[in-house]
Each structure stands twice: as structure tokens, then as C-alpha cells.
Symmetry: C2
Subunit: 138 residues, 2 copies
């Protein structure tokens, strides 16, 4: 099995709220948009983000574990400069992100902050000046 | 904010077990490998999968929600033919995946099955003959 992620699918509790946040708020375009079912956005050359209604997700994958705290994953959006980190976090705030954590310098040498989407999924907005950071920028 | 995922980070409870599964079992190579902290694997042209020790994850992002059920996301690995779906699921089983769900034909026209990694994160192995599927193949 070659190392490759084609789709990141998030189980969302209110697809209309997710749609408002990602499409209307952040201004992203959908490659698939089926009200009440799924919204898909291209987020890389061969990568799609899928926002899937939780009931449909649970029917195929299984009941979703919930509890107090954050979901056990983050999605990072890397940018070329620290200033862009602050700009993107501000854009997320303007789009209605329910949580925005200001960026700070990280011990690995970068600069990053977080915002949450309507389901609490955390996005890290990051500038990474190291070799992995250079690999990530298109 | 442009639509782009740079890194998918999973909070893992036993990094040594994750390392055995992904690196030794599936044979993936790491771009970063710090025992007890993090393993990173390149999974796309500008995309990295990060397996991050849960304690470190929680210290930066927050306590992780746990409960009965599956994590609220899946990662899909798309392939070019239905036969490859079965081959990859078998490779995951041979690598020690604790759960493997046989592939089946899906109502959206494709063919897919799932396996779980040591933390229960579900990977969907999929063949999608439609336009989104063609977009996903490198």
C-alpha cells in the first residue's frame, strides 16, 4: 500500500452549518454539494475534503465516539510567512469560527494558531520554516 | 483562505504501535521519526500524515474527546481498480490492522472497504469510477 491520502472525511452534525462556514464563510468552492448529505471541496492536487452528514457516516462506518474534549485530529493549512498565519486566522474568525487561538512561536521553530469549525474540528494555520514546511507549500 | 490541507495529524495513544503498523507493517517511510513524540509520512505531493503522541497533542490542542465508537473521520486511499481495493485491504490485514471490513459495491457507484489502524482510525480503500475519483488519482 503506497502512502497516500485521497480524501479526508469529517462526520458533521449539521451539514448546513458546515456548508455556511466553509463555502459561504471561507469562500471555498464545492466539487460535490448534496444538501443534507455531503459537501466535498478539493483541498490539494489529488485530495478532497468531504463533510459528510453524521447519520450517513454512522450508517456506513459505525457510531461516532463523542465526549468532552476536542476531536482526535487536526488539519493543518500551511502558509509561506508568519504574517499570513495571522491573516488566515482572522479570516476564519470573520467566517464565524467558534474558537480561534492566537498564533504563537512553537518549539519546533514555527509559528501557528488554531481555529475550530462548527463541529469543533481544529485547523492549525502554520508557518514552518524547516524542511517539512518547504515540502508542504505548493 | 484558500482550500488546502497540508497536514493531517492524528492523536495516537501508543506511538510505538502506530510506528509498527504504518512503517513496519505497511512499509511506509517517515520524513520525521522522533520516538515517543511524532512520526510523519509524506502522503501526497504537498501533504503529510502526522502521528502525534496524544499527551503532546492534548498539551497543545486540548484534551481529546473519547467514547464508545469510531473516531469522527475517515481517511480514504483511492486506487484505480476494484481488484486493487481488495489487494490493499489484504495488505492492511497482513500489516496487523485490528479491523478489516470487506469491500462492497456502494450506492454512489464505487467499491470500497475499511480497515482500522491501532487507534481505531478508519481508512477507506476505494475505487471511484466517477469524476471525483478521476480527480483523486495521481
Amino acid at each position: 500500500m503506497e502512502p497516500r491520502i485521497s480524501v479526508v472525511t469529517l462526520a458533521v452534525r449539521d451539514l448546513a452549518a458546515s456548508r455556511r462556514f466553509y463555502l459561504d464563510g471561507l469562500g471555498w468552492g464545492a466539487v460535490v454539494d448534496v444538501p443534507g448529505e455531503v459537501v466535498m471541496v478539493q483541498v490539494g492536487a489529488h485530495v478532497v475534503l468531504s463533510l459528510w452528514d453524521e447519520a450517513a457516516f454512522a450508517a456506513e462506518v459505525g457510531p461516532v465516539a463523542r465526549g468532552d474534549g476536542v476531536p482526535p485530529l487536526t488539519l493543518a493549512h500551511n502558509v509561506a510567512t508568519p504574517a499570513e498565519v495571522d491573516e488566515v486566522l482572522e479570516a476564519a474568525r470573520a467566517a464565524g469560527a467558534p474558537v480561534v487561538s492566537a498564533a504563537r512561536t512553537r518549539e519546533w521553530g514555527g509559528y501557528s494558531g488554531y481555529f475550530a469549525d462548527p463541529d469543533g474540528f481544529r485547523w492549525e494555520v502554520a508557518h514552518n520554516p524547516g524542511p517539512v514546511g518547504r515540502l508542504l507549500l505548493p
